[in-house]
């Protein structure tokens, strides 16, 4: 059986006027289902670029990319949206919650696009909020929640569609050490339950939660240790 994520010679270049930036410069990488991966590296080394490709938010300039058996490059914009909806959960550094919208509605957002009926959306997002420890605050708006609580809502949102892969780009980047530890505990638990977790971080303590650490420099992998 092939790996959950297969990357072969991934190249991503950005053209800024006459300047060409090689954000990824030939990355080959397999990630199996159930892995817990931390991606590290200096700023500008291509970590976010890779995450965008793994999340099917962007297309590589060249190379091959199969995610959950799907050739992402062959999918049209609507098909790729549906693919993300079903397969990937995103957690962002800046949470990206909808303002003046309840935690429940924020967590339920992906389900609107899965075409689930209202009652089912409420049921599932309620369960996920409970799972991240926010069962009591489902009607709070983001402004009424702490940073850590907001990130929990974002994690509930990422989980609500039962994704195979959880992608988190610096999920603790905006949080203090104590809150970071709480959030990482949630990722640990999710990985134990079988979800493939891939996260980007600058902090070694955070990376140490993962069982595999990949280090980037100048768009290539310089270290990959388990």
């Amino acid at each position: 059986m092939s790996a959950l994520i297969e990357c072969r010679d991934l190249v991503k270049t950005y053209e800024m006027g006459d300047q060409v930036v090689h954000a990824l410069n030939g990355v080959s990488l397999d990630i199996e289902a159930g892995e817990y991966v931390a991606i590290m590296g200096t700023s500008g080394s291509g970590k976010s670029t890779l995450m965008n490709l793994l999340g099917a938010l962007d297309q590589p300039t060249s190379g091959e990319l199969r995610i959950a058996g799907e050739d992402v490059r062959a999918l049209g914009p609507d098909a790729v949206s549906r693919f993300r909806n079903r397969t990937i959960g995103f957690v962002f550094q800046q949470f990206n919650l909808l303002p003046r919208t309840s935690a429940l509605e924020n967590a339920a957002l992906p389900l609107i696009y899965s075409g689930l009926p209202h009652a089912e959306r409420v049921k599932r997002s309620m369960a996920r909020l409970q799972q991240v420890g926010l069962g009591e605050r489902t009607d709070h708006h983001p402004a009424q929640l702490s940073g850590g609580q907001q990130q929990r809502v974002a994690i509930a949102r990422a989980l609500v569609n039962d994704p195979k892969i959880l992608l988190a780009d610096e999920p603790t980047g905006a949080l203090d050490t104590k809150t970071s530890a709480d959030i990482m505990a949630i990722f640990d638990q999710l990985n134990r339950e079988g979800i493939t977790v891939i996260l980007v971080t600058h902090e070694q303590e955070v990376a140490d939660h993962a069982r595999r650490q990949i280090v980037f420099r100048d768009g290539v992998i310089v270290e990959d240790r388990s």
Binding site: D58, D78, S81, F90, R100, T101, L109, R157
Partner: protein, 411 residues
């Protein structure tokens, strides 16, 4: 995503920015409200005028000596030869397509019954007059042609006379003294009410033309013994007004010996034509209103588009997020399109409330007739929905074309 979910998302977004949504609607509200007020008032005025004209006799031709009747100038009315009984008879016998022809003379006089005096005018007319001028007999009868010719002292009276002289009781068979002479009341007329300028149309007394001429000397001068002040001709249904007018003009030019090329010294006026001319200005006014409404809605629509573009820019990260978690381009486009339509339709409904309210207040204060046409209301709401689609499409399209990564990174 289904339509209901889209609607819910749109309503939530509008609620979150309630004040801005209200301001964005303002143009549409004002547009729809002003259209409804203007159209209702102009429609009301139009109907009032038409009712007035109908009560006067819509197919009526009015023939008088002198030149133009409905223009500003009515020069030479006194100087030209009067119309005569001979003209009445000639028109009645020689012009095809007329339902009735009547002359008219009148004299100011005093009516006496019991102890009551009432100053009024007595009008001498031929029997055709009643149908030509849209009078309906309420009680009794009108006088006949023979009674007209023989100069019987019969009168047909309006409801004001019935009220003032007989206190509402039936006056049939009663004798009233008019100018000192006894007249028998043989009929009463149904009420017409007041004209829009407040004149009582029911303060009327009609007697045979020859009677009024003989007894009151109306229409008699040293030279002419059988003059009438006005001839009324009622065009039969389905006849061409312009053809009948042309025939009457030809006939009168011959009778009055007017040389070819010389100007008429009489005028044949058509109320129907008057109405038509009026309707023309009316429909031009309607066109002007429609153009004005279109401009206001256009401005309102540009306001909506502006707000929607601001909204799209402001919510770029939200759009990026929605795309990331599975929204298709059409979902994003529909979300903003529905927002724009909802904005406009709510604005349209608010404008409807304001417009109908304003119209009612105007009618109350100005004591005017208004007509709130459901078609106009439907058009106003439909137009606001159209504005929503038309001016929402571009911002919505722009939103749907955003790239999720760029949108998510947007500051």
């Amino acid at each position: 995503m289904n339509a209901l979910a889209s609607l819910r998302v749109a309503l939530t977004a509008l609620r979150i920015n309630a004040l801005r949504s209200a301001l964005a609607m303002l143009g549409v509200i004002i547009g729809v409200a002003s259209v409804i007020v203007l159209v209702s008032i102009s429609e009301g005025t139009k109907q009032a005028v038409e009712a007035q004209i109908a009560s006067f006799g819509a197919n009526l031709l009015i023939i008088r000596p002198g030149s133009s009747m409905f223009g500003g100038r009515r020069g030479g009315a006194g100087s030209a030869d009067p119309m005569t009984d001979g003209d009445v008879v000639a028109i009645r016998t020689e012009i095809a397509g007329l339902a009735g022809v009547s002359g008219e003379v009148s004299a100011s006089t005093t009516l006496v019954f019991g102890g009551i005096n009432w100053t009024s005018r007595i009008q001498g007319v031929n029997p055709d007059y009643f149908s030509a001028r849209g009078w309906v007999i309420a009680e009794g009868r009108a006088f006949s042609g023979a009674e007209d010719v023989s100069g019987r002292r019969y009168v047909v009276v309006g409801q004001t006379i019935v009220q003032e002289l007989f206190d509402g009781a039936s006056p049939l068979g009663q004798a009233i003294r008019i100018g000192g002479q006894p007249f028998e009341v043989i009929g009463t007329l149904e009420r017409k009410g007041e004209t829009s300028w407040g004149q009582d149309q029911d303060d009327v007394v009609f007697a045979p033309l020859s009677t009024v001429r003989q007894r009151f000397g109306a229409g008699m001068s040293a030279t002419v013994r059988d003059a009438v002040s006005t001839i009324y001709a009622d065009i039969a249904p389905g006849e061409s007004t312009s053809r009948v007018i042309a025939d009457i003009e030809d006939l009168l030019r011959i009778r009055r010996e007017i040389q070819p090329g010389a100007e008429d010294d009489f005028a044949v006026g058509s109320l129907a034509e008057f109405i038509r001319a009026r309707n023309e200005t009316e429909s031009q006014l309607g066109l002007l209103l429609a153009v004005g409404a279109g401009i206001v809605l256009l401005v309102g629509g540009i306001g909506i588009m502006n707000i929607m573009l601001v909204s799209v820019t402001e919510r770029t990260r939200e759009i990026g997020l929605r795309l990331a978690v599975g929204a298709r381009r059409a979902d994003v486009r529909n979300q903003f399109l529905i927002e724009s339509i909802v904005l406009c339709v709510i604005g349209g409904l608010a404008g409807l409330v304001v417009g109908v309210g304003g119209t009612l207040v105007y009618a109350e204060v100005g004591q005017l007739d208004i007509v709130i046409d459901p078609v106009i209301v439907a058009i106003a709401i439909g137009a606001s929905a159209f504005v929503g689609v038309f001016f929402g499409l571009y911002p919505a399209h722009r939103a749907s074309r955003l790239n999720p990564i760029d949108a998510l990174r947007f500051e």
